[in-house]
């Protein structure tokens, strides 16, 4: 028998009995950030491929979700800070070693770029839109002129945002469940699938829907592969990582992970996508919402389970 006990009593709030410093705002933000990254990635990609008119919803309409998601996500992040009055200190330093620092700067760029992108496409929803002021009209024509550059910026920063949401967690060696480099690509894949799913949900064009159903199917496959890969890595690693994986393999998070994230969030929508592509008529709303739900649950499960995994005691 080996038993370790803190006998002087330690009940530091949010740290004991196990870490729970990050509550619902963090996974919510990670989901919204990933979703926005996925949406903006496809918008910029299809614009740069010159398919703006062919895939109108993806390039011009769905991106309107992105700034809303990003701003709500940022608000959630702000809400989670415990020393709110000092939040501006984030923007007084660039610390490359800290994922949260360059993540904060990335968010500043991508949020601004997404707002500009939406402003350029505002006539999609309000055909008679008038910017009224001279300088706003000048600004619009400036960005229209350099729209390609803007699209490249969005494309690159969308990938960084998508990966960053995972790296933010994987940089913590103190939490063995998070400490895997697969988390970056996995969160990116999850964000891209959420982006593709929202395009399927929003598009009225059959061709566009089918294309993004196909894209979604491929990304869901990649996600599944990365999850298997992650567990293989954990189980072949040190004791603390084996114990971390066991949270999902018989431990407290087994049901919620395999049912909500893997089955309802990946396998079921992937099967429905496959049936859709084989010619069965599946209402697009079902796989779409399932993917979004799975993506959200994935963040919640990972952020909460990761805080339970530890080195000591």
């Amino acid at each position: 028998m080996n038993e370790e006990l803190i006998i002087s009593g330690r009940e530091n709030m949010m740290v004991d009995p196990h870490l729970h410093i990050w509550h619902w705002p963090i996974p919510l933000y990670l989901f919204l950030g990933g979703l926005a990254a996925g949406i903006l990635f496809f918008a910029a990609l299809f614009y740069l491929m010159g398919k703006e008119n062919e895939y109108r919803t993806a390039v011009r309409r769905i991106p309107f979700i992105a700034p809303v998601a990003l701003i709500v996500g940022l608000a959630a992040l702000f809400f989670d800070l415990r020393h709110k009055a000092f939040f501006w200190q984030l923007y007084t330093a660039i610390r490359l070693e800290s994922p949260m620092s360059w993540g904060a700067w990335t968010l500043l760029v991508i949020t601004t770029a997404s707002v500009i992108w939406c402003a350029l496409h505002i006539r999609e929803f309000f055909p008679g839109w008038d910017w009224r002021y001279r300088w706003l009209i000048n600004l619009e024509s400036f960005f229209n002129k350099y729209k390609k550059v803007l699209a490249w910026v969005i494309l690159i920063y969308a990938v960084i945002t998508g990966i960053y949401t995972g790296i933010l967690l994987s940089a913590f060696n103190a939490r063995p469940l998070w400490n895997t480099s697969v988390l970056g690509p996995l969160f990116l894949a999850s964000g891209l699938s959420a982006g593709a799913a929202s395009i399927v949900l929003g598009s009225k064009d059959k061709k566009e829907r089918l294309l993004f159903t196909r894209i979604d199917l491929i990304i869901l496959g990649v996600e599944l592969f990365l999850i298997v890969h992650m567990f293989m890595g954990f189980l072949a690693s040190t004791q603390v990582q084996i114990e971390a994986a066991e949270l999902f393999l018989g431990g407290g998070y087994t049901m919620v992970f395999w049912i909500f994230v893997v089955f309802l969030g990946i396998i079921l929508p992937a099967s429905l996508d496959l049936m859709e592509l084989r010619g069965y008529h599946i209402p697009a709303v079902i796989p779409g919402l399932l993917v979004l739900f799975g993506s959200l649950m994935f963040r919640f499960v990972f952020v909460f389970a990761g805080q339970v995994s530890r080195w000591l005691y």
């Binding site: 006998i7 002087s8 410093i21 990050w22 020393h83 709110k84 330093a93 913590f172 530890r310 000591l312």
Partner: protein, 177 residues
């Protein structure tokens, strides 16, 4: 200069005086603590062995909390002591999540708080409160670069271990075994 602390697990009786001394000295808010005592029970009755450890921040040489801090509030001060500047801290909690020893906590005022090795006392030539108050004199503090400091002498004489060195943190809190 490299400040370090050594705790004699054979002399410690687990009285928690160090914890109370720290709370008093540093105005630690009620319900929180910067140091704590761990009891490890090994074996089966009647062959039991007990190890007692007074633990706190390890003032790591490779501190993950300093690395992940987005504003630079967590920093390494003189002698390798890891400190937090409250007016630079945004209370994001990244450092708390990054610490494998769970040595940090969110202060009710919003910033993150932790053991400072009582730097305000050390600057005036005194020992940290926990070391000064220990009734069994089981704690040693000093500069590792000075071969004549209490901590250097005891680490030369005795066998010791650090906590989870495999986390790559290079801890500066030693336990004499």
């Amino acid at each position: 200069m490299r400040y370090a602390m050594a705790v004699d697990t054979k002399k410690c009786v687990g009285c928690s005086d160090c914890v109370v001394a720290c709370q008093t000295e540093n105005d630690v808010p009620i319900g929180y603590c910067r140091d704590w005592v761990v009891e490890v029970m090994d074996g089966t009755y009647p062959q039991l062995e007990i190890e007692l450890r007074s633990e706190r921040c390890n003032h790591c040489g490779n501190a993950p909390c300093v690395r992940c801090c987005p504003t630079g509030a967590s920093h390494i001060a003189e002698g390798g002591i890891v400190l937090v500047k409250p007016n630079k801290c945004i209370g994001c909690g990244a450092c708390i999540a990054s610490c494998p020893y769970d040595a940090r906590y969110p202060h009710p005022k919003g910033y993150v708080d932790k053991c400072t090795f009582c730097i305000h006392r050390v600057r005036e030539g005194m020992k940290p409160a926990c070391v000064a108050v220990c009734p069994t004199k089981c704690m040693y503090f000093g500069d590792l670069d000075d071969p004549n400091s209490d901590v250097s002498i005891i680490l030369k004489k005795r066998k010791y271990k650090t906590l989870i060195p495999e986390a790559g943190t290079k801890p500066e809190l030693y336990f004499l075994i």
